[in-house]
Subunit: 293 residues, 4 copies
């Protein structure tokens, strides 16, 4: 298929490369030119504009947030100009309001929209090990399924309403954030009682073995929140989206509220650029413990 790819950040690059590897013809566009040129070395064609990347069968976008998406694809009129048969797959973590707006916009212009946000760090994206949650019109899903299969072994589909994939994605980020917060509190409790974080983590990892525990337990144990894998500022953005997703249907998410408050405090105390698991460090500080490092 002819694929346009827009947004070549850390995640986007790995994904675009795997689409190339799967044998598709890929045209890439990125607001700053550097990342696009790297992809050219792997066989991608470079587009000088978003429009130019949007002339094929499918457009995959991986832009930072609602605002970037709005600017690059909506306000610019790019979506309005898509070919009628085109399918737009948005893989970024956007608000459910934006996902709904995109779905309506594409319907109005005769194209199709699929939400396919994903779980996994840049290394997982590069290794085609993403977990993808997808939703969108059945015909569009059928056409893009092979493409998504090239990006990771697990795809979970949630029916015809594209935004539902975003609800699921956000709920997953919420769970990860809750695991981080709870680990932070549990580590503060045990450290204040004099238990070594290393010994504690050995136990913890053994009994509660899952991805967020492994990934963030390591960071918390070492107290090493820089460089950030996922910045606290982005974590806050996601928690705000989670709470908005709850607010739309009047579902209170008290743990999410609590984590958001903790994140706000972390940012106010100067940790916005650190890894979002730094909220564990705040739990330690709030308990009167000093930084480990």
């Amino acid at each position: 298929m002819k694929i346009g790819f827009i947004g070549l950040g850390h995640m986007g690059q790995g994904i675009a490369r795997n689409i190339l590897k799967a044998g598709h013809e890929v045209t890439v566009y990125n607001r700053s030119r550097g990342p696009a040129e790297q992809l050219a070395g792997d066989g991608a064609r470079l587009a000088a504009s978003a429009d130019e990347a949007c002339r094929g069968d499918v457009v995959v976008s991986m832009l930072a947030d609602d605002a970037a998406l709005d600017q690059v694809l909506i306000e610019s009129g790019v979506i309005a100009r898509l070919p009628a048969s085109a399918i737009h797959i948005c893989m970024a973590t956007i608000s459910i309001a934006m996902a709904r707006r995109l779905a309506e916009l594409h319907v109005r212009h005769g194209s199709a929209y699929v939400s396919a946000p994903c779980f996994g760090r840049p290394a997982a994206a590069a290794a085609a090990q993403l977990t993808i949650v997808a939703a969108g019109p059945a015909q569009a899903m059928a056409r893009v399924r092979p493409l998504l299969n090239a990006l990771g072994p697990n795809i979970f589909e949630f029916g015809g309403d594209a935004y539902l994939a975003n609800v699921v994605k956000l709920s997953g980020n919420f769970f990860i954030a809750s695991v981080i917060e709870t680990m932070g509190e549990a580590f503060a409790l045990t450290r204040k009682h004099g238990i070594s974080p290393d010994a504690y983590f050995e136990f913890f990892r053994s009994i509660f073995d899952c991805r967020p525990v492994r990934a963030y337990g390591e960071i918390i144990t070492q107290g090493k929140y820089e460089p950030a894998g996922f910045r606290l500022l982005l974590g806050l953005k996601d928690l705000n989206l989670v709470l908005a997703a709850g607010g739309e249907v009047n579902v209170a998410l008290p743990v999410a509220s609590l984590v958001r408050d903790h994140m706000l405090s972390g940012i106010a105390r100067g940790c916005g650029e650190m890894d979002w698991s730094v909220i564990a460090e705040l739990s330690a500080q709030d308990a009167g413990l000093t930084a480990r490092t």
Copy 2:
């Protein structure tokens, strides 16, 4: 070794049986006689009193809570009358205050005390698949280690202060409770948006695969909180112990406070005898959803 075993509830029976299988001479005592007689069929000797079970090398106790332990072993004077070389292993989930009191009491009477609370349901106890966290004086630990090894493949040790094993155990139950609460909120969010709990759990289990997610996700998905694996009333007891463990060292545990409040409300609304994961059902009700069943 000559082992006394006190407290033959669902957990105690499985543990006592595995000690018998490991070739030890086991004398059992239980306040109600039925469970003790079952063990007799497996080769255990029956004691008519707690004292009678406490004449060997080691006494293992698995009594329901602080109050039961106080009544059966402390107020009764049983601990004061233990042989000087004896070691008492308490495997129950007790308060850290009680664990410290026991440690002091044993030191005063010349015996030794080891805390060895465990993770696992009765089936895991029966299958010698418990995870045990243990702490106590080095000499005592050295003598009882082989015994604990007969009960499960994973033993994590936390040094000479016995109560630290209880801190770790409580922190683990806190994490499980937080996972249940967060799953409950996430399930309420996605269900209110119209996503099927079964489809959601398939995704959830895949990406966050760990014991509490598997065990409680199943129950939440089916909305089947009876019969209880672990009653909400006991869950509340544990959360109170967690908060007390934090209070002793001035560590706030906001997620634990939130879960405790939710549990109190569950009990007030008539769910005290249900499985403690019923707090997920409350999240659903608070979101205006009706029971699934």
Copy 3:
């Protein structure tokens, strides 16, 4: 002065009438015609459009929320067409983002903007007993001060940045909401212990005598949440604005988060049209108490 008045809801009518009484020439506009005609009987001139009401020295708007204000005054171009010397006073509870947007818009078009949100129920508006918090450019403030003085005895000014008055207004609504929530919890606690709400409120009102305690304690004691003085749905809107005001400057407001969650649950459980103090009834229900009525 020649005053335009836009938005004749329960609050707006009382305010407009007091402006008339103070001897100003008032032209009123309301989207539905009925309320405007009532004012005509008191000497107001009726405008057929918002524009027509905006040809005097000052325009006072009291529209329901950000969206209504946007529709009636911004999108419609009314603000852009204001006379250069005109001052717009917005007395509604709007977001701080909207207040800032208004200030910028007026500067761009050569007019001036003052935020003057107020505290008080419709009866207080009618009786010229509002408490007003105001902010805006010094010259504009100087001109409108006499007008505001006609609406209530207490005006608190917060400098040249108009949106700061909205920050203060929102913080006040937050405090009122917290008082309601805490009273609800305290009433549930004492009622569950068997204490009569009437006896309890007699004590409570005596020792914590202030407006929100008097007003909402009465409602809570009687369990009479209908008809609503201020609907829960509007209360939620305000709490969301409070949290947004905190989010903008990275200030966590944990009590506000908790109250918002409680409000969401109240709306999900069917109480959106009741008085916002109905969250006290939810505290009672969560405690296993039944409705008083």
Copy 4:
């Protein structure tokens, strides 16, 4: 009447003095002798032991907490030796469990017990301006009512079960703590937006005028948490009692949980000896603001 008075702290001294002024014969006892000797100058008789102070018609105790009360009056056997007709009035803020234990103990020994905890700082105690909440057997209440009337203008009675007065007292302290917490958050929000705390407090005091707002708003505005009027450590003790009072009847008090967590963090961060309103300073710090002083 012949009155014994036990516990001459800051509150006790003022109360004892007012009982003297009301014309009663007062025998005082205090563990440290200094404060008792001061009372002697006002006409009190000095007792060398608690027993000696307990030979009259009424014993008033104002001891620091459950533990002090237990030590001085229960374990010591003083209550068991009271004359049969004697009435014990406990004015301290004790747990509801202790209040119930006292009531039972007195019944068993033929004496009577009245709970009469009070609101007011030492200055209010000295000026006979306390607000008292009282409960206990009708006959005993009838006899001590004139005595309580000498201590303050407002007495609220809650029936025959003495501990209910303690429930009410604790609920009142909970409300005060919530007001402090919410003011702390509101001040942090407005300060972070650049509003002067002095200007803000002028507004706040005007619109939400009540005792805790006046008393603590002053302290928060000035950032002057030392010397403590009421120490954070004692505040935490009270919040723990509030939560226990809720726990007994399965009433969740989320705001109380939140305040307790904040207090724990304050103590961990070194503020235990400061005024309990220092939690407002923590809200400021969590918002990235620096101390005002």
